[in-house]
């Protein structure tokens, strides 16, 4: 009843092609943004902000980046964590070289470094396809991680071999380091993620996104239709790596505070791939759903056992979490191979025509 588009007439092509053609969707988005920007920092506890919301947003951004590449352009990548690492290390180098420039600028700029690396490793994609391409991105993953360990210049010759976020301020208030409040960090992360999501939405709804999807659906056909494959694929690699790089920089600077090369290991790449697939390939909102599920599920499971009054060891919980996550991935794929985004679409469609079945 609430979700009914009766009486909403589209009087121009522009209105017809809008990203949110239904008024209730626009209101819903405004409410979500309001909740995220105002209510959460006002009423959320420090734990909720720094241990749930910030990681969730960071993962969602990385998943979004991978989704642009894998979901929209159809190029399987297993090197996400490597590209995230490039962003993090680039941001670290930049902010230690030029401490006077605002950190936000460097976080966004570090994305370009990661984009350049992404283009480099995307070059084989013109000749190699599918699972074969996964090897090229695995090469990126392992090579980049090796660089983070073996090139001391990248971590300023630290003895520990880790990078640590130096204290940086925004409007006179610290946003990194031990004195930064969770609220401020959360708002910075949220603003960047919201901005980049908006840009991504415009990208995939425009000419660029359509050519990506054409390449995904059948690249030879796309080529015959006049889409130049190399620039299109490389652009996808660049944009995707940009997003992953920014996510990596956010992860180190606004979430962890410091990071070792192990943070950007292959298992992190797989985790983000899970998020994309569980959330839904080729869906922006799916990236958020996937990140919420894959990141949130272990947290919920860990708190579930004490709540049920079962006393089991921490290690056992860890193992059971693994099993449950694995089983859930299989279960989800069987029930809905197109991910949570598809469930979301189904729910919306059902609501629109309710009480009729179609």
């Amino acid at each position: 009843m609430l979700y009914r588009e009766t009486g909403q007439f589209k009087t121009s092509y522009k209105a017809d092609m809008a990203v949110f053609p239904i008024r209730q969707d626009r209101i819903g988005l405004a409410v979500i943004l309001l909740l995220a920007f105002v209510a959460t920092p006002l009423f959320g506890s420090a734990f909720l902000l720094s241990a749930v919301m910030i990681p969730l947003l960071v993962f969602a951004l990385a998943a979004l980046g991978l989704n642009l590449l894998t979901g929209y352009t159809g190029q399987l990548s297993l090197g996400t964590a490597g590209f995230m690492g490039v962003g993090a290390y680039a941001c670290y180098k930049l902010t230690t070289f030029f401490p006077e420039v605002n950190l936000i600028v460097w976080i966004l700029a570090s994305g370009f470094f990661s984009a350049a690396v992404g283009v480099l490793f995307g070059l084989p994609s013109l000749r190699i396809k599918g699972f074969y391409l996964a090897v090229a991105t695995l090469a990126a993953q392992f090579f980049l991680q090796w660089c983070f360990i073996r090139i001391p210049w990248l971590y300023n010759n630290n003895v520990s071999g880790a990078i640590e976020a130096p204290v940086r301020t925004l409007f006179g208030m610290p946003i990194t380091g031990p004195h930064a409040t969770p609220e401020l960090r959360y708002l910075v992360v949220l603003s960047i993620v919201a901005l980049l999501t908006w840009i991504a939405s415009n990208l995939v709804h425009g000419r660029v996104g359509r050519s990506w999807m054409a390449v995904r659906d059948m690249d030879i056909a796309a080529e015959l239709m006049g889409i130049r494959l190399l620039p299109t694929k490389l652009l996808a690699f660049a944009v995707s790596s940009f997003y992953c790089g920014v996510a990596g920089a956010l992860m180190v600077f606004l979430w962890y505070g410091s990071a070792e090369p192990e943070v950007f290991s292959i298992s992190q790449s797989f985790l983000i791939l899970f998020m994309v697939i569980i959330g839904g390939l080729g869906s922006l909102i799916g990236s958020f759903f996937g990140a919420a599920l894959i990141y949130g599920l272990p947290i919920v499971l860990k708190s579930l056992f004490p709540m049920l009054g079962l006393s089991v060891g921490a290690a056992t919980i860890e193992h059971i979490t693994f099993m449950v996550v694995g089983a859930m991935i299989i279960g989800f794929l069987i029930v809905e191979p197109h991910g949570l985004a598809s469930i979301w679409r189904t729910i919306k469609q059902k609501l629109r025509v309710w009480p009729f079945p179609y």
């Binding site: 099993m323 991935i329 794929l333």
Partner: protein
């Protein structure tokens, strides 16, 4: 710099041939193990078109089951038989729970499902057998141990007996698989399924049975790889990362080719060891982690379908 890259390593090779032989042998041995893991992948990919990411964890799981059963007091050979039973049950379970409901889904979905399987097996294995590394029961299984030192080329080259055994067992296994594929009724059915699921179904081949059989065969190969690998180091979940090396091997050999898996494994193994030994010091060592992928990538640029893969024909 150029001298260091292009000339010096070869001078070193010519100067100390015994070291070269040793490096080659080490490379061949790890190549055999990569090939064994890749073989499991190829079996499953050929028959069901599933890119089985869980093969690596199946290796760990099989080895863990074997050692775990032995530690519970089961005699070694009985434990081996029981492990085979467990692998068979795993194959049946995978077919029932994962493959059958997901039939005819896109490749990437099946690939993700095997990811889920990987997670499940990691959790399950750690829950049942604990996460600590275990020593493989090499002696109890009657596998040879010790080292043979051979004086040759003005130096001493040492061969681990277990490595020789691994090479022999791997060759026997490949030969057995080749005979199985070429000569038996089930083998023919497997090849038919590999060619076309629909055509195979229409002549009365049960896809479900075939899947159980290939997954079981892959499980047996995994057990062999697990025993060999465990004997060289120890049985632990760290092996899973090493198993990722099977990917470049597969890519190099082509996903559908058994000989490809063997040759690819040997090329990767040797290339990796030689690269680490002669060129690694130039950049600070540790290049073994990524060199394999770059070797595979270099081959791919010239043959996108791998050395022995079927030619990819694209049509609109």
């Amino acid at each position: 710099m150029l001298y260091n890259i292009f000339i010096d390593p070869f001078v070193q090779m010519a100067g100390a041939p015994d070291l070269l032989v040793q490096a080659l042998w080490d490379g061949l041995v790890s190549g055999v193990l990569y090939a064994l893991i890749a073989l499991g992948f190829v079996l499953i990919f050929k028959a069901s078109g599933v890119f089985n990411f869980a093969q690596g964890i199946m290796v760990v799981f099989a080895a863990l089951t074997l050692v775990g059963l032995y530690e519970k007091g089961v005699p070694a050979y009985v434990a081996l038989a029981l492990t085979l039973v467990v692998m068979f049950l795993l194959a049946v379970a995978v077919e029932r729970v994962v493959l059958r409901p997901l039939v005819n889904q896109p490749d990437i979905i099946l690939f993700m499902a095997t990811f889920g399987l990987t997670y499940f097996l990691i959790g399950f294995g750690e829950l049942v057998f604990g996460g600590n590394p275990k020593a493989m029961i090499t002696a109890q299984l009657g596998l040879p141990r010790g080292v043979i030192d051979v004086e040759m080329l003005g130096g001493r080259v040492s061969f681990q007996k277990i490595d020789i055994a691994a090479a022999v067992i791997a060759s026997i296994m490949v030969a057995a698989l080749a005979v199985f594929f070429q000569k038996t009724r089930i083998g023919r059915a497997l090849r038919a399924v590999a060619d076309s699921h629909k055509a195979a179904l229409s002549v009365g081949i049960s896809l479900n049975q075939i899947w159980v059989i290939v997954w079981f065969a892959a499980g047996v190969v995994a057990l062999a790889a697990g025993i060999m690998w465990g004997a060289r180091s120890e049985v632990s979940f760290a092996l899973e990362i090493v198993a990722l090396k099977a990917l470049p091997v597969l890519v190099l050999g082509g996903f559908t080719s058994v000989p490809g898996a063997i040759v690819g494994g040997l090329i990767i193994g040797v290339g990796e060891k030689l690269g680490e030994f002669y060129w690694g010091p130039l950049v600070g060592g540790g290049i073994e982690t990524w060199l394999a992928y770059f070797i595979a990538l270099a081959f791919l640029l010239f043959r996108p379908q791998g050395l022995f893969g079927e030619k990819i024909i694209e049509r609109i």
